[in-house]
């Protein structure tokens, strides 16, 4: 019930609307009740409404409005990339992206792999059933 992810300087957030959709950004300052100053290694620092952000669990140690170099160093120190890619949320997004970019041939190969896997699982299940029966 109590809040766990706070809007604070250093909070890493995911952009969920707009031109930078899907990017991880760092809240670098709070402008007013609705907007934050937001920065990422590959974008120009700018303002964003909180409604366009979804907070993540990740937080890094920075002072208010660091320069780009310091920000990048802090992201490295906080190991944000690895933490994100190993989190279940991050992994889900990666899988979604992969699925969306699949070729027709890739989809066919995946279908064959699924059928094969299901066959193996069914065999093992049949073996177990025979043992217990």
């Amino acid at each position: 019930m109590p809040f766990k992810r706070y809007v604070e300087v250093g909070r890493v957030a995911l952009v969920n609307y707009g031109k930078d959709y899907g990017k991880l950004v760092v809240i670098v300052d709070v402008i007013d009740q609705n907007r934050a100053l937001v920065d990422a290694p590959d974008m120009v620092r700018g303002q964003m409404n909180f409604k366009r952000l979804t907070l993540t669990d990740i937080k890094i140690e920075i002072k208010r409005v660091p320069n780009k170099k310091t920000l990048i160093a802090a992201l490295e120190a906080g190991d944000v990339k690895n933490k994100w890619e190993n989190s279940s949320w991050g992994r889900k997004l990666i899988v979604q992206k992969k699925r969306a970019s699949l070729n027709d041939f890739d989809r066919f190969k995946i279908m064959l792999a699924k059928i094969k896997k299901a066959g193996v699982v069914r065999q093992e299940l049949a073996k177990l059933k025979k043992e217990t029966a």
Binding site: A100, S101, L102, D104, F105, F108, L112
Partner: protein
């Protein structure tokens, strides 16, 4: 306007006068006699049309060796290898025949989805195929007979000439080798494409 266009500078560069080209010498045209006969009504001449017919512009995604999905006709859903574009604009395509039953065939670009899967087509010679190869055979006109004549004609039409079968085999031989080099590609070409539940064509990447 004179000063704005810099005409003063052009004149100065050319030494005071404007640069002129010499007029080309016009060859003296032979004297035309007035025509002896004028038609009674003025007939309108049709306008000059210098447009040349060109084959349809080929989509950038379709290159020789691309796997295409045919969308209409008796081979709808079949995945097929693109060979070349003919002068009529139609695409020359083959199954290969042994893999999915599609022979050397012409297909319209509009009825085709181009996938991003490519097959190496360098070993295949498709120079001899053109639109005439696929045209309907012109038959000599026979006098209308009855009974026996009709039956004889029908029997002749059904068989494919051996030449076409040999062409198919030679094209497919080189292709099939390249296809078997890629794992699963042969069964991919043998399977038909269909939309399943949850597939959104506008979101699919082909």
């Amino acid at each position: 306007m004179y000063h704005k266009r810099g005409l003063w500078a052009i004149k100065a560069k050319n030494g005071g006068a404007f640069p002129k080209h010499e007029k080309k010498a016009v060859a003296a045209a032979p004297a035309e006699k007035p025509p002896k006969f004028y038609p009674a009504d003025d007939v309108k001449k049709p306008l000059v049309n210098k447009r040349k017919a060109r084959p349809t512009k080929l989509r950038a995604s379709i290159t020789p060796g691309t796997v295409l999905i045919i969308l209409a006709g008796r081979f709808k859903g079949k995945r097929v290898v693109f060979l070349k574009q003919l002068t009529s604009g139609l695409l020359l395509v083959t199954g290969p025949f042994k893999i999915n039953g599609v022979p050397l065939r012409r297909v319209n670009q509009s009825y085709v989805i181009a996938t991003s899967t490519k097959v190496d087509i360098s070993g295949v010679n498709v120079k001899k195929f053109d639109d005439k190869y696929f045209g309907k055979k012109v038959e000599k006109k026979k006098k209308k007979g009855e009974g026996e004549f009709f039956e004889a004609e029908k029997e002749e039409k059904n068989t494919l000439p051996q030449e076409k079968k040999d062409d198919q085999k030679s094209v497919d031989a080189a292709l099939t080798q390249c296809i078997e080099a890629v794992p699963d590609l042969k069964s991919y070409l043998g399977a038909r494409f269909s939309l399943k539940a949850g597939m959104k064509p506008h979101e699919l990447v082909f």
